[in-house]
Symmetry: C2
Subunit: 236 residues, 2 copies
DNA sequence: AGGACACCTAGCCATATAGACAGGTAACAG
DNA sequence: CTGTTACCTGTCTATATGGCTAGGTGTCCT
């Protein structure tokens, strides 16, 4: 959909600089993506008081992120995945960026902690995950420089979460399909299986099937719990 | 419904200044309360670029808000009610402040839109309600000055929500009791009525009773919807 | 003393749901 | 061609839930 920049193009920009070993005089160039102005201004303010870091652009939509990465080739993308109504789209975006612009490191600055999203994000090449509510002002600047050097940064508790997730018997990061998400949303709005079935033109059996798969993937046993966990996972 | 602020009280403090007609040279003194650093810095940055507005302090807990109001006597308190794990506490705080420091206007800067909270807040003397995700940078500064002048500021959609709420047959701002909240939390964790009953030592009938009251108060018809709306209302 | 309220209980009944089974289709990649 | 994946359908049963009506207790306020 947007095949703008190929690696060679980027090599033209910084041909002589190995990743993570840039000159100390060149600043870490950051792109901030969040739909919330307050957060953007806040992150910008924090980062710009950090020596060696500069915010080069801001973005508020997934498309704008791609454009901005293409245009500015930032060293670090600080992003909240909740840029549209579909977190999956954000995860895809991360994968796309790590593939096409490997020198741009991605650090997620999330509103909520979601095992589901964290694990999926790590898989797709994201190297930082911090929680807005947990970060201290100075941590943010340090974290940006750390991920630029290719290291992984995780907010407190997140590392444990991932470890725990890896150790659990349940399949990690199992993908939630579009159809499942559709059913889930209707379910959260209080529709019965029958009502969901008729509104998406399938049988009640199918609805139950999807809900059962969702329950397994999220580790829930009742729809109330399902909605709760899905919300925590940022699916709703 | 709001007979809190007596003119005399105000006259004692600034005897010569009619409301909304303060000297253009005195700045609007703002206290920012939010548990999130990024938000605090962001709001501060935005407000300080607004002429006539100055941020005098920040707070991150309910207690700190009271102390800071006491110490600085700000003109406007910009607050996210989600300062602890209990939103109700935040609402009580608002009432306390409007009672004890009537010259301090309160503007809520919320993460999520909750009819429940909005209505309750208005009752307790809050005069502004904006959504973090919706505000534009310049709106925030204007809103602060507007609430200082004693006017009510509501983010787009919120006014309609309140109007709709007032027009609905359902009782608005009905209080959710502690017991109901307790049941709700267990419900959201996927426990059946029977399990909830045994874990709080009541009968299943009682659990159903509480859940039914909750459903009525929040306008839900299924537990999945109940959990969804309760989450949106900041109860979970 | 009377009223308002949180809280608890009981029983009824239709319907919804969880959880398990066994299977079919289409698209797509190795 | 074969395996994988998303998606869809069906049948079965025990249990959970929603919606209702009709009570009880104690506490606190007026």
């Amino acid at each position: 959909m947007n095949d703008l920049v190929r690696p060679e193009t980027r090599a033209d920009i910084r041909p002589d600089v190995p990743l993570g070993r840039r000159s100390p005089h060149s600043k870490t160039r950051v792109l901030v993506a969040d739909r919330n102005v307050i957060i953007r201004i806040g992150v910008r303010a924090i980062l710009e008081r950090t020596p060696g870091v500069a915010v080069v652009a801001e973005a508020t939509t997934y498309d704008a992120v791609l454009d901005a990465v293409d245009e500015h080739g930032p060293d670090v993308l600080v992003i909240d995945l909740d840029l549209g109504d579909d977190t999956t789209r954000g995860l895809q975006l991360c994968e796309e960026i790590t593939n096409r612009y490997p020198q741009t490191k991605i650090m997620i600055l999330a509103s909520a902690l979601s095992e589901f999203v964290v694990v999926d994000a790590m898989r797709r090449g994201v190297t930082g995950y911090l929680l807005k509510d947990d970060v201290k002002a100075d941590e943010l600047g340090k974290a940006v420089k750390t991920v630029q050097d290719g290291e992984v940064v995780m907010g407190k508790g997140i590392g444990n979460l991932v470890a725990h997730s890896l150790g659990s018997n349940r399949e990690i990061g199992e993908h939630v399909t579009d159809r499942e998400l559709e059913v889930l949303k209707l379910c959260s709005r209080g529709l019965s299986n029958k009502q969901i079935a008729s509104s998406i033109y399938v049988t009640e059996s199918t609805v139950k099937f999807h809900l059962q798969n969702l329950s397994r993937k999220l580790g829930a046993h009742r729809r109330a719990e399902l909605v709760h966990k899905a919300t925590a996972a940022g699916l709703l």
